[in-house]
């Protein structure tokens, strides 16, 4: 399970998101880190500091690309300029797999720069899967789609979120980036049992797992990536690992970012769960 065709048959352990405030520490101290996840769009530029830093990181670390603006779920076609730049970056990083979100975010050439929830319909699943396949064919790298956290649901939906996720990945024959914090956030916002979600996911398609912290408000939870991971999310993670097997795991921390040591220590809490025996074999 850890190594499968959706993560390029790799066996990566625990990774940390590469963030600007940590550049200096990483390049100077060279901490031992399993791998770094980069936000692809931050490096899809023609030159300058972003690419120079990335090249230094690539000399010493394994890097996996995570995107935020492919918008597989948008009704319009994939953006060719975006794809061309993404492919150039894929060649540069040699990422064994690539991830982006199961969401929409643009319409009629206007971009929201947000990960907007999909209407869970068969039509949307078909269209989304077609775009995932098209992107994979062009980029020539395995793709895994991430479940997003959401704050709204549509009347139009014909199935649950996890049924929709399965429908898309089966049709696209792609992997899943399973974000257990997002499952928790959405389960609280939409009143479903997060374990129903986890139990429905096809274990053999999980290429990678995300964990993160969030912010709790009176009437909803917001996926802010600015806190440590809370216990209920660690419990979900433990359950996910027991179902899926030890899988490449990444801690996201994007706002009010503490020191690299603190972020890395939080990520390494996943070690004890990764060492536990799996319940299910592929």
């Amino acid at each position: 399970m850890p190594a499968n065709r959706f993560n390029g048959f790799t066996d990566y352990g625990i990774g940390v998101g590469l963030r600007i405030p940590h550049y200096e520490h990483i390049l100077e101290k060279k901490p031992v880190v399993g791998w770094f996840e980069i936000i692809s769009e931050n490096y899809m530029v023609d030159g300058g500091r972003p690419l120079a830093i990335l090249d230094q990181i690539l000399e010493q670390y394994r890097v996996v690309q995570h995107g935020v603006s492919m918008y597989f779920g948008s009704a319009e076609r994939l953006n060719r300029d975006h794809l061309r730049r993404l492919k150039a970056l894929v060649r540069r990083t040699q990422t064994p797999w690539l991830t982006d979100h199961l969401c929409w975010g643009s319409v009629d050439g206007r971009y929201s720069h947000d990960l907007l929830p999909m209407p869970y319909t068969f039509e949307a699943a078909k269209l989304t899967a077609r775009k995932v396949r098209a992107a994979r064919d062009f980029l020539e790298v395995p793709i895994a789609v991430e479940n997003v956290s959401s704050y709204a649901e549509f009347h139009e939906s014909e199935m649950t979120e996890w049924e929709f996720l399965n429908e898309v990945v089966e049709r696209a024959d792609c992997g899943i980036l399973l974000d257990v914090n997002n499952i928790y956030v959405s389960s609280r916002n939409h009143d479903f049992n997060p374990y129903d979600y986890l139990n429905a996911v096809t274990p053999g398609r999980v290429a990678q797992i995300h964990i993160a912290g969030h912010s709790k408000f009176t009437r909803y939870i917001l996926d802010t990536h600015d806190h440590p991971v809370i216990d209920p999310v660690w419990k979900l993670y433990e359950h996910a690992i027991r179902r899926v097997g030890p899988t490449a795991t990444l801690l996201e921390w994007d706002d009010r970012i503490p020191s690299f040591g603190e972020v890395h220590a939080e990520a390494r809490k996943a070690e004890k769960y990764l060492a536990a025996p799996a319940l299910v074999t592929p």
Partner: protein, 266 residues
Amino acid sequence: MAADLMRRMAPGDRLAPETTAAYIKPNNRLTSRERLEIYTKSYWYRLLDSLYEDFPGLRAVLGQRAFARLAEAYLADKPSASWTLRNLGGRLEDWLRAHPDFAGQRLLLALDMIRLEWAHIEAFDGGVSPVLGPEDLLELGPHLRMGLQPYIRLVELSYPVDDLRIKVNSASCEHGAASNAVLKRKTGGLVRRIARLDREHIFLAVHRLDFTVYYRRLEPEEYAVLAALRAGRPVGRAVAAVSQASLARVETWFAAWAEMGWLCKG
């Protein structure tokens, strides 16, 4: 269906309550509208934040309130048309020309600052070509072609906004380190400086060195030669218009440009 729904839900649009309710389910804590508002509010925060970070000089020129009015109107009129927020301000100069009221008396100053700050963004992550080496200059002659590094931006301005932008930067760098009283004094000084700023025709190269963006003032003829090289003219034609008085300086200019790695194959 998906396209229709997405079009109606496009952030930034003002939806009638009944339209929102027709698409979005309420729950026992939030109405349909409140659920949608979580997205619309974060849309506006995200985009306004992005403009706020990209145009600190324009904020200083207009003041916070006028800047906020301008940013909201600009985004409503020209929503992001790019997959990256980096390009969000790319149409701001043209937009402000068409909507001059948003800058009031400071229109020219604001336009200059926008041009400088956009050039700054482009110089930061613009492409780089192989630098011309001594072997490339062996055949130095009037027909030799050489280009200017793609990341360099040449800008002609009516106000010395380069100095102003550097002052704005240093004031914001000290934010956090300085006490409130010191900061207030510095901000007040900046406001007075803007109010007294006299027009001055300047020529700039916005470039980068060791991944940091710099503004270098150019002599008018130096600017003209660089602009000609950027336009693809051979060296001989690029320097043809240089006056007799400045000819002696041409060699110095080229030496300085080569030193900074500005020249590449044409």
